[in-house]
């Protein structure tokens, strides 16, 4: 118990003293995670939307595939992308391995099924009549799409926030593709693993606190955004 309280106390001191190393690690983590969430959203939301509103053969199969991909372990993605980005791999000439960009590539693959899959279910929940009404009222395809997306926005936004939580807390991809390089690709999770390897817990505990704080902040943000919409209606 002493050990935990002592680590916590020192961790708080570190946080308050604005330790540059600590905050740089936090910054790397946030930047990489936001980037991959943005890219995955830009690809996943339209993809999920199309799957939800179109009727085509094998639709069930696609949805099952998306749901299966939700369970992809990070180390499997790490290995796969490693083999691709390694100098011996197909995309080796890009020299991306052990850079933040490599982590982004892996993380986008990790959360794309989340964003797409949850968008499918959020959009599917919107009543078919809603779409037809919009069209009867003279809305074009784009306007109809916007109307449906607007109806489904909470579900979609929720999936984006969940995806962000997933990437900021994952370690397999960040470690294998980023390489935990100090001041370059060291993220909160890889730094915590390293500190544990070193047998030092203060920085690790401090980072753990930040990680929780970031999740809390994202969820509060979600609540606030939902609040805005609620008042607007």
């Amino acid at each position: 118990m002493d050990f935990l309280t002592q680590s916590l106390a020192e961790a708080f001191t570190m946080l308050v003293s604005l330790d540059p190393e600590l905050y740089f690690i936090v910054w790397v983590s946030l930047r990489v995670s936001l980037m991959s969430t943005l890219i995955a959203s830009a690809m996943g939301i339209p993809l999920g939307f199309l799957i939800a509103i179109r009727h085509f053969r094998g639709k069930r199969g696609v949805i099952t595939l998306l749901n299966t991909l939700l369970a992809l372990p990070t180390v499997v993605i790490g290995l796969f992308v490693y083999a691709l980005l390694s100098r011996q791999g197909a995309l080796g000439h890009l020299g991306l391995l052990y850079t933040p960009a490599a982590i982004v590539v892996g993380q986008v693959i990790l959360i794309l099924p989340w964003v797409a899959g949850f968008t499918v279910s959020a959009v599917s929940r919107i009543d078919e009549r809603y779409r037809r009404t919009a069209m009867t009222l003279g809305a074009g395809p784009l306007q109809t799409a916007i109307a449906i997306l607007r109806e489904a926005r909470f579900g979609i936004l929720g999936s984006v926030i969940a995806a962000f939580g997933r990437v900021i807390s994952e370690i397999g991809i960040a470690m294998m593709l980023g390489g935990n390089i100090k001041g370059f690709t060291r993220t909160m999770t890889t730094a915590m693993a390293l500190e544990h390897n070193k047998g030092e817990f203060v920085l690790a505990v401090a980072l753990g606190i930040v990680l929780l704080a970031v999740s809390l902040a994202m969820n509060i943000l979600l609540q606030v955004i939902q609040g805005w919409y609620g008042e607007d209606r």
Partner: protein, 287 residues
């Protein structure tokens, strides 16, 4: 309504994209190095690399892994230089054309760590092989790194030296119940040995760090040390530019030469961990 949404994402997007992901402008003065966890966890890199930067203006990006994985990075051309400790595999690495030349840089030593009361009575063993034999005979827990690291390679050499029957992984055949291969780094292995009252082979640096570098301390002690077979030489090898044209061989050579120069050797020798010297200069004349 939607406007808030867009504004919110616009702010985040500009925040994220405003700073470049990979600073390509300074790329020419940066090399990437794969090294072992021991150089990083012991704090040597944090001491050494800034000195090197001060002398040459070259940034070394270090990736710490087991020696096997670090050499693999070199064999795939993913790094410019490797800095590891497994002499045999390093020599093979150069022979196979992956590296230009292996430089002797420094050595540290391994120690056999175990519970204070030394249940297997290895303290007076005549050599490290006998110490290991005694552990096997007493069937006291032994924690193996089991991760293909340099330390793990040395464990296996010691087991061979004991003359005990080994399986194809180089583990004692009758190891069930006392030989635990955990596939993790030095730190977790030390912790597990402490929890299980077992022995393990550790590099001195990580051990010192656990013993003296932490508020909560560490109970196990060095039970056996000093044998020649426990010496642990580190070598640095620039990756061969004839094999991988993209590697930054000039800067990698600069780093290797700096390490074995008088200045580099002095920096290495002056590094202390909790008041104990840890790495001993080992550069050879004319190398």
């Amino acid at each position: 309504m939607m406007r808030y949404f867009f504004k919110f994402f616009l702010v985040i997007f500009s925040l994220v994209t405003a700073t470049p992901m990979n600073t390509a402008s300074a790329e020419s003065r940066i090399i990437t190095m794969s090294t072992t966890t021991s150089t990083e966890a012991s704090g040597l890199l944090d001491y050494l690399l800034p000195e090197f930067y001060a002398d040459t203006g070259i940034t070394v990006r270090a990736i710490a892994k087991g020696t096997g994985a670090a050499l693999r990075d070199g064999m795939d051309g993913n790094v410019d230089i490797v800095f590891v400790h497994d002499e045999e595999r390093e020599k093979k690495f150069v022979e196979d054309g992956f590296g230009t030349k292996r430089y002797y840089v420094m050595y540290n030593d391994f120690v056999i760590v175990g519970p204070k009361n030394d249940p297997a009575k290895i303290h007076d063993a005549v050599d490290s092989a006998e110490a290991m034999r005694k552990i096997a005979k007493a069937r006291t827990p032994f924690i193996s790194r089991g991760d293909d690291s340099g330390t793990h390679a040395r464990e296996k050499q010691l087991w061979v030296a004991t003359g005990l029957p080994l399986n194809r992984h180089g583990e004692p055949i009758d190891g069930r119940g006392w030989y635990f291969a955990i596939g993790q780094g030095m730190g977790p292995a030390l912790v597990m040995a402490g929890e299980k009252d077992g022995y393990l082979l550790s590099d001195r640096g990580t051990y010192l760090h656990y013993k003296y570098g932490r508020a909560q301390g560490y109970d196990p002690e060095v039970i056996y040390e000093g044998d020649d077979m426990l010496k642990n030489p580190y070598g640095v090898i620039p990756v061969n530019p004839e094999r991988f044209s993209h590697v930054n061989n000039d800067l990698a050579e600069t780093f290797a030469r700096w390490l074995v120069s008088e200045r580099g050797q002095e920096v290495i020798g002056s590094y202390q961990l909790h008041g104990h010297p840890l790495f001993f200069p080992d550069a050879r004349k004319g190398q």
